[in-house]
Amino acid sequence: MTQPVQARSALPDISGYRLVPERHWGRWAAVALIALLLAGLARAFAVGDIEWTYVGQFLTAPAIMQGLVNTIWMSIAAMALGITLGVGTAVMRMSPNPVLQGVAMGYTWLFRGTPIILQLLLWFNLALVFPKLGWGDYSLRTVDVMTPMLAALLGLGINQGAYTSEVVRAGMLSVDTGQYEAAKSIGMTRLTALRRIVFPQAMRVIIPPLGNEFIGMVKLTSLASVIQFAEILHNAQNIYYANSRVIELLIVAAIWYLVIVSILTPAQMLLERRFSRGAGGSR
């Protein structure tokens, strides 16, 4: 016969008692206060000097729509260039070759070390340095090549690459060295190991900050308005130079930025789920 695990004690038997949920009085008070403040803010804007009909009217104006399209594709194109350069730079930085390491470090240093608006202006004014691009008969006037669009793409994309390389490098460092060793032990070269083993695991670490960077890029494209790239803020400004509805058109631009970012956030969550395969105990 086995001994009882627990002796009968004098403590009260609470097995039949009702469990009372915790009341969060503080939270309810805070919600009421926030609602009150928001209502006050909404009223202030409603009675303020804003013609809301203009906001509605210009929200889908052709120039604004064209600017929206330009903002979206420039964000995607600059980010694609940034990710390509960033991955390449991170791989070079992590390589055993000191020359490649040096090139990668120099690139990151140069483009992280100068303001993005300065880089945009430099690309746009490249013609002042090199009036012609190319060799002999195969040369073009730089002012014809370096359009606002190309200057914006190069400025934003190359700058983004410098930041993305650090994000990618952090992701690569987060993968256990045992994974590199296991990949080598089945005969993989460094690049195959990176592609098949390291990057798929690093993505889990890379995607949240990269989503952050992408959202940043959507807003960063507005800086390209200074070099006449026809993105949404640039076109909104052009309209208010003509009709003086400054605040209304800035609100139009703000609404569209918020719409883009609101779509990107759930898209990022879907991507994160895709790359969390095998992590944790999920089946």
Binding site: A182, S185, I186, T192, R196, G278, G280
Partner: protein, 256 residues
């Protein structure tokens, strides 16, 4: 045993900074032999194992695997370092099993095993998957083909790792303390797979603390201490009747 040894280690030296990890180690392993290396941590046994498949590069000395010098090409009377791709090719003749399993966590058990044959050897996926299922059956995990490593116990992970190494059809299997990271009740399953492998004639070099396994399976036991081989002989000689004082001290510390 006759003929050329499968592995020939000649006077290998290795430093890590000021730490002298291997002090002129020489060792031959015959084809089909099961060799167990025992010794305290820091004795150089794991480093020696990692030198054989070039995860660690030696300072000097030579390691020959299947008649081929590892890491260098001989040209006249000089040695030229091999390219990364050539080293990767040389590693195909050895399979390695790690203390921490190192399965690829983003792949299922089956995908882990198929990865090398498909990506490195470029063989057709279908054929490799059929072989992988046979290997999973051999290690007793046919029903876990589609499980991710996170859903496998340590012992199951290590058996998948053994199958992954075998899928490359290596001539030599290296085991780096394969049961040290396992809960005690899971050690038996992994050792059983290793015993079956030894009986099948595979050449094995096993760094281990499992003296029972060494006694039962090893053709030869090597005791290492402070970067040198102190004693080498049959399991009954080295474990049952050690000649060297350092071996006796180690064994009495382990067995007490």
């Amino acid at each position: 045993m006759s003929g050329r040894p499968l592995v020939s280690i000649v006077n290998v030296e290795k430093h890590f900074g000021s730490f002298h990890a291997l002090k002129g180690v020489s060792l031959d392993v015959q084809a089909g032999e099961v060799l167990c290396i025992i010794g305290a941590s820091g004795s150089g046994k794991t480093t020696l194992l990692r030198c054989i498949n070039q995860l660690v590069h030696t300072d000097s000395g030579a390691i020959w695997v299947d008649g081929e010098l590892t890491g260098h090409r001989i040209q006249g009377h000089s040695l030229h370092p091999l390219s990364e791709a050539e080293i990767a090719r040389q590693r195909l003749s050895t399979g390695m099993v790690f203390q921490r399993f190192n399965l690829f966590p983003h792949m299922t058990a089956l995908e882990n095993i198929v990865e090398g044959p498909v990506q490195v050897q470029g063989r057709p996926r279908r054929e490799c998957e059929a072989e992988a299922r046979t290997l999973l059956e051999r290690v007793g995990l046919a029903h876990k083909a589609d499980a991710y490593p996170a859903n496998l116990s340590g012992g199951q992970q290590q058996r998948v790792a053994i199958a992954r190494a075998l899928a490359m059809k290596p001539k030599l299997m290296l085991f780096d303390e394969p049961t040290s990271a396992l809960d005690p009740e899971l050690v038996g399953d992994v050792l059983a797979v290793m015993k079956e492998l030894a009986r099948s004639g595979m050449t094995m070099i096993v760094v281990t603390h499992e003296l029972g396994f060494a006694k039962e399976v090893a053709d030869r036991v090597v005791f290492m201490d402070h970067g040198s081989i102190v004693e080498s002989g049959s399991a009954s000689e080295v474990l049952g009747n050690p000649r060297e004082a350092r071996t006796q001290a180690f064994l009495s510390a382990v067995l007490s």
